[in-house]
């Protein structure tokens, strides 16, 4: 923390209203400056300045504060300490490690614990790659630290600095506070580079330029990877009423996405869900690295009962950490669960400021805040010359499950993938309860080349054909509701049969089954291809005049329904056997009809 000078102006608390307080004598304070409030030194941020009156949102419980207590400036905006030690850790909304808070207070989170951040005492093995005389531009890498088993932390020159290396320390063990490199800038000022540097959370970290997103984020979830793919560097929203499985879906993405780094933000959600993550993640093995998925994960937790102002900040804290790892050249995926709670925090603060509300009490600047947030995603060329990306996947909790409410509506405008969760599917325990008719992905076109090159030339074509079948089914079901299934012509009944296989055998995916929780793309494709094969076989039969009742072979259908469990992810030969089974059954059947 910055040292506060004695003669610096102090603010005096003049009014208190929940997490929002006002102070007098605050002329010298800056907008968005971080301050400490009262005798307990609660942490807050200046959000309005008007004459010498300043309004502050406080990130901790304000009960016990008195009018007349002092407000002290820190001289800098709300910032994070970015350095090694964030992975495998869980922080609150303003980057205070919950494990350290636990040392101070074993059960409950007290107020007034001050500004903690990443561990300053831990020693890291640093390799210094820069040499005296080197010219280092902003974002250049000057050293390496092995942060976890799988992630190399690349020590970077902060984005606002560049210069010539004057001296370096030898390789060895250092803390984040130790000076590693001395840098002389253009003005001949000497700067000390350490492992960690500060960055304000509300300012996006600069990059060289944005580039196109051409690679999908592979999640191992069939409905996402094949039907509604998310690009690396893209944005997605998962809206759904309670009980539809938002958190479940977010957890699956955090567990299995093929990103290098996962930043998971529990924003205004349940405490037990974060506990579940801490208990579960260390036990899960990343299929790519062979190590625990926790090795690449940063957790931010502001549960629903933690102070609301810190909830507003938690989203920015998360995305700033994501940008820090992106700048090292990593593909980062960030899950925010739930962005609606963040929007509600904005609304709550706005209400306390007595601002004029727009829709449903939300402030008029809600859309622009949502846009600013999602625009921090992207695939970029970093200042250091690497390629990095941030994919943002935000859960949305629409009030009453109604997608026309302001947060869902405005989110929809700024994301490219929309994975609509459906209450009726959830009621029937069809999980993931992603509605295939309402969802969309704006990345299909951009990613089609990738799918054709890496999965199969007809992959996208196959996907379109299968979605088309599901659309047909939807129309047919409306008819069935009126007249019953028996009256439909045979070809339409066959469509219903195949659609059922797609829904139950393909789109339903069991997160609790070892084989099914993560499925490699090759199997995802092969499964769908097999269903198509079956569909075409049936159509050939229909042409011969064989009724659907004859075409329906329960044994084969049930093999399709269970193929996600019975066919191992690493051995797809079972699908060929299934094809042979189809051939032998139908060839015999066809023969009977041809004769």
């Amino acid at each position: 923390m910055a040292v506060i000078e004695q003669n610096q102006a102090k603010g005096i608390i003049s009014s208190i209203n929940g997490p929002v307080i006002k102070g007098r004598n605050m002329v010298s304070f800056k907008m968005r400056e971080m301050v400490t409030v009262g005798e307990k030194s609660l942490i807050g941020e200046v959000i309005v300045l008007e004459g010498d009156i300043g309004t502050i949102q406080v990130y901790e419980e304000t009960e016990g504060l008195k009018v007349g207590e002092v407000i002290l400036p820190t001289g800098r905006p709300l910032s994070l300490n970015l350095g090694p030690g964030m992975l495998k850790n869980m922080f609150d909304g303003i980057q205070r490690p919950l494990a350290k808070i636990q040392e101070v207070s074993p059960i409950f989170i007290p107020e007034g614990i001050g500004l903690l951040s990443i561990d300053e005492a831990q020693l890291w093995e640093a390799t210094i790659t820069a040499k005296p005389g080197d010219i280092l531009l902003a974002g250049a890498v000057f050293g390496l630290v092995k942060e976890t088993e799988v992630i190399q932390n690349r020590l970077m020159v902060p984005p606002n600095l560049s210069g010539t290396v004057v001296s370096v320390v030898p390789d060895g063990s250092y803390t984040i506070k130790d000076m590693l490199v001395k840098l002389r800038d253009e003005k001949n000022d000497i700067h000390e580079l350490k492992m960690a540097h500060q960055w304000p959370v509300r300012t996006p970290r600069p990059t060289a330029y944005r580039q196109e997103t051409l690679v999908p984020l592979i999640t191992g979830q069939r409905i996402i990877d094949i039907f509604f793919p998310i690009a690396k560097g893209g944005t997605a929203a998962i809206p759904g009423g309670f009980g539809t499985g938002k958190t479940m879906t977010q957890h699956q993405l955090a567990k299995w996405s093929d990103a290098d780094i996962i930043v998971y933000i529990g924003c205004g959600e349940r405490g037990n869900e974060m506990t579940e993550v801490i208990e579960d993640f260390p036990k899960l093995i990343d299929p790519r690295s062979g190590k625990s998925i926790m090795e690449r994960t940063v957790l931010i937790a502001n549960t629903s009962n933690m102070p609301v102002a810190a909830r507003e900040a938690s989203i920015y804290t998360g995305v700033t950490i994501a940008e820090y790892y992106r700048d090292m050249g990593y593909a980062v995926a960030m899950m925010a669960d739930s962005t609606s709670r963040w929007a509600e925090a904005l609304r709550e603060i706005s209400g306390r400021l007595e601002e004029m509300p727009a829709e449903e009490g939300y402030p008029a600047y809600l859309p622009s805040r949502i846009a600013e947030f999602y625009e921090r995603a992207g695939s970029v060329q970093t200042l250091g010359g690497d390629e990095g990306s941030i994919t943002i996947i935000g859960a949305v909790s629409p009030a009453g499950g109604d997608f026309s409410e302001p947060v869902t509506e405005n989110t929809k405008r700024f994301v490219n993938v929309f994975l609509a969760l459906d209450k009726n599917l959830a009621y029937a325990r069809h999980y993931p309860a992603i509605n295939w008719l309402e969802s969309y992905s704006g990345y299909i076109k951009i990613l089609s080349d990738w799918y054709e090159d890496h999965v199969a030339p007809d992959c996208i074509e196959l996907r379109n054909k299968m979605i088309e079948l599901l659309y047909q089914e939807n129309k047919l079901l409306e008819m069935v509701m009126l007249v019953g299934e028996d009256v439909l012509p045979d070809d339409q009944r066959w469509v219903l049969e195949i659609a059922r296989i797609i829904k139950v055998g393909y789109l339903q995916q069991n997160a609790y089954n070892k084989e099914d929780t993560y499925v490699p793309l090759a199997k995802q494709y092969a499964m769908l291809k097999a269903i198509e094969y079956f569909y075409e076989k049936g159509r050939a039969g229909l042409k011969l005049g064989i009724p659907t009742s004859q075409l329906k072979n329960q044994e084969i259908i049930s093999a399709f329904i269970k193929m996600k469990y019975t066919i191992p992810n690493d051995d797809l030969s079972g699908l060929d056997e299934l094809k042979n089974q189809i051939d032998s059954y139908y060839d015999a059947l066809f023969k009977r009809y041809q004769d």
Binding site: V67, G243, V308, G361, G400, A428
Partner: protein
């Protein structure tokens, strides 16, 4: 440090404003003494603006006038004395005894607002609680440390159901583990409170129950503190005294309405249906106090009851609740009209913690599959019923007719049970298999061959 003031500037509903006050703190407790009678009312500082202080009064504000009362700032937060003597006692919404017993004296005092539990300190709840009710145990399993609300409607038997759960729930792993019930009545009818008191008496748990009661005709500001007092007592008993505590709270709807009334008196910007924008955070501050802690034996299992206005599950109260709690038990009016008790509408009901608390080692290996299959099949029943409405039951296909029969049997035998009937989980699961056997095997796509082999009732296997 005591400070006394004489002049009240303004009285609006449950709020009073006092001026020229200094050095009071946010959240400070205030005593308002009526000079003529000596009556004391309690209040709390909820806003400070320069020298003006807004106080929320927990009792009725009628009779208060500019000069007739002394405002006494106590210099303390809202604390309650905590001790094991709480058990068996009845308090009002601000923690004062109303059972003619003595005051609670204890050196231990706790702030009723509590503090957020550090997620690192939580233990993820995994232990199954058998309530003896088939629909709950099998399909929306209650887990120790869970917060599982009952979404009900006016006139539905939510009180009976809650009382039956209290009576039948086996909270601890064995009989030696101490358990208790904390009951909070928020804005309830006198009849309802009597019903609970009687039912606690009948099940011989009265000496293990702590009751906090705010009647429908009690002041609304007290409704804000009632659940907080109750949860503070629950936290003390669970986390200091290692007891398994079941908190039953009724009616959250009255609580939210009190919140709205006070918010409107404070002239705050409303959000949906006039409820304040912070209602989510406020409710979370209550619900999130349930749970279990690492290395601690005690637990708080939380069963809040709320009546959905107009049976509308999208109303802000059930909606925000559902986003915070770990599932919900929804009662259905149609089932109730058809005399099915308990009328648990299973499709929208859900227990989020169920997945980790059932199966081998907890209940039985086939539990998840049976539950899944019952959900899927019963959901199909709804579709078939819609169809039969149009084309008539006679014209349904053979399979669909079987679904109709399954649906009727499921409601009559599985959902329906006596108010004193306690079924073991094994009985409930076997009953589930028996009913599923009414459907063709090909329709049962959620069951694995191994479990079908082991549990499918052999005699009824006719294809």
């Amino acid at each position: 440090m005591k400070k006394e003031y004489l002049k009240i500037d303004k009285v609006v509903g449950p709020l009073i404003q006092v001026s020229d006050v200094d050095s009071v703190f946010y959240g400070e407790v205030v005593n308002i003494v009526e000079i003529a009678t000596g009556n004391i009312k309690k209040g709390k500082v909820i806003k400070i603006e320069e020298q003006h202080v807004v106080i929320q009064v927990f009792q009725n504000t009628s009779g208060l006038a500019a000069g007739n009362s002394i405002i006494n700032f106590t210099g303390e937060s809202f604390n309650l004395p905590m001790s094991l003597d709480l058990l068996g006692r009845i308090f009002n919404g601000i923690g004062q005894p109303i059972d003619n017993g003595s005051e609670i004296f204890s050196a231990i005092e706790a702030n009723i607002n509590g503090r957020p539990i550090n997620p690192m300190s939580r233990e993820y709840p995994r232990n199954f609680i058998q309530t003896g009710i088939s629909s709950i145990d099998t399909l929306a399993t209650l887990i120790r440390g869970q917060k599982l609300p009952i979404f009900s409607g006016n006139g539905l038997p939510h009180n009976e159901l809650a009382a039956q759960i209290v009576r039948q729930a086996q909270l601890g792993d064995d009989v030696d583990e101490p358990f208790g019930v904390v009951f909070a009545a928020i804005g309830v009818k006198h009849d309802d409170e009597k019903f609970f008191r009687k039912s606690f008496g009948e099940s011989n748990v009265m000496d293990r129950v702590v009751m906090f009661v705010n009647y429908a005709d009690d002041p609304i500001a007290e409704r804000i503190t009632t659940p907080r007092c109750a949860l503070t007592a629950a936290e003390y008993l669970a986390f200091e005294k290692n007891m398994h505590i079941l908190v039953v709270m009724t009616d959250i709807t009255s609580y939210c309405e009190a919140l709205r009334e006070i918010s409107s008196a404070r002239e705050e910007v409303p959000s949906r249906k006039g409820y304040p924008g912070y209602m989510y955070s406020d409710l979370a501050a209550l619900y999130e106090r349930a749970g279990m802690l690492k290395n601690q034996k005690g637990s708080i299992t939380f069963l809040p009851i709320l009546t959905m206005p107009n049976d509308d599950i999208t109303h802000p109260i059930p909606d925000l609740t559902g986003y915070i709690t770990e599932g919900q038990l929804v009662l259905g009016r149609d089932l109730f009209q058809r005399s099915i008790y308990p009328p648990v509408s299973v499709l929208p009901s859900l227990s989020r913690l169920m997945k980790d608390g059932i199966g081998e080692g907890f209940t039985r290996e086939d539990h998840a599959e049976v539950a899944n299959q019952l959900f899927a099949s019963y959901s199909k029943v709804q579709e078939v019923r819609d169809l039969s409405q149009i084309i008539g039951e006679d014209d349904l296909s053979q399979t669909d007719k079987k679904y109709m029969a399954f649906g009727r049997a499921f409601e009559a035998e599985f959902l329906n049970q006596g108010a004193d009937e306690s079924r073991t989980i094994v009985d409930s699961l076997d009953l589930g298999w028996k009913l599923l056997a009414m459907l063709p095997l090909t329709e049962l796509d959620r069951l694995s061959p191994e479990n079908i082999e082991k549990y499918f009732p052999k005699e009824s296997q006719v294809e």
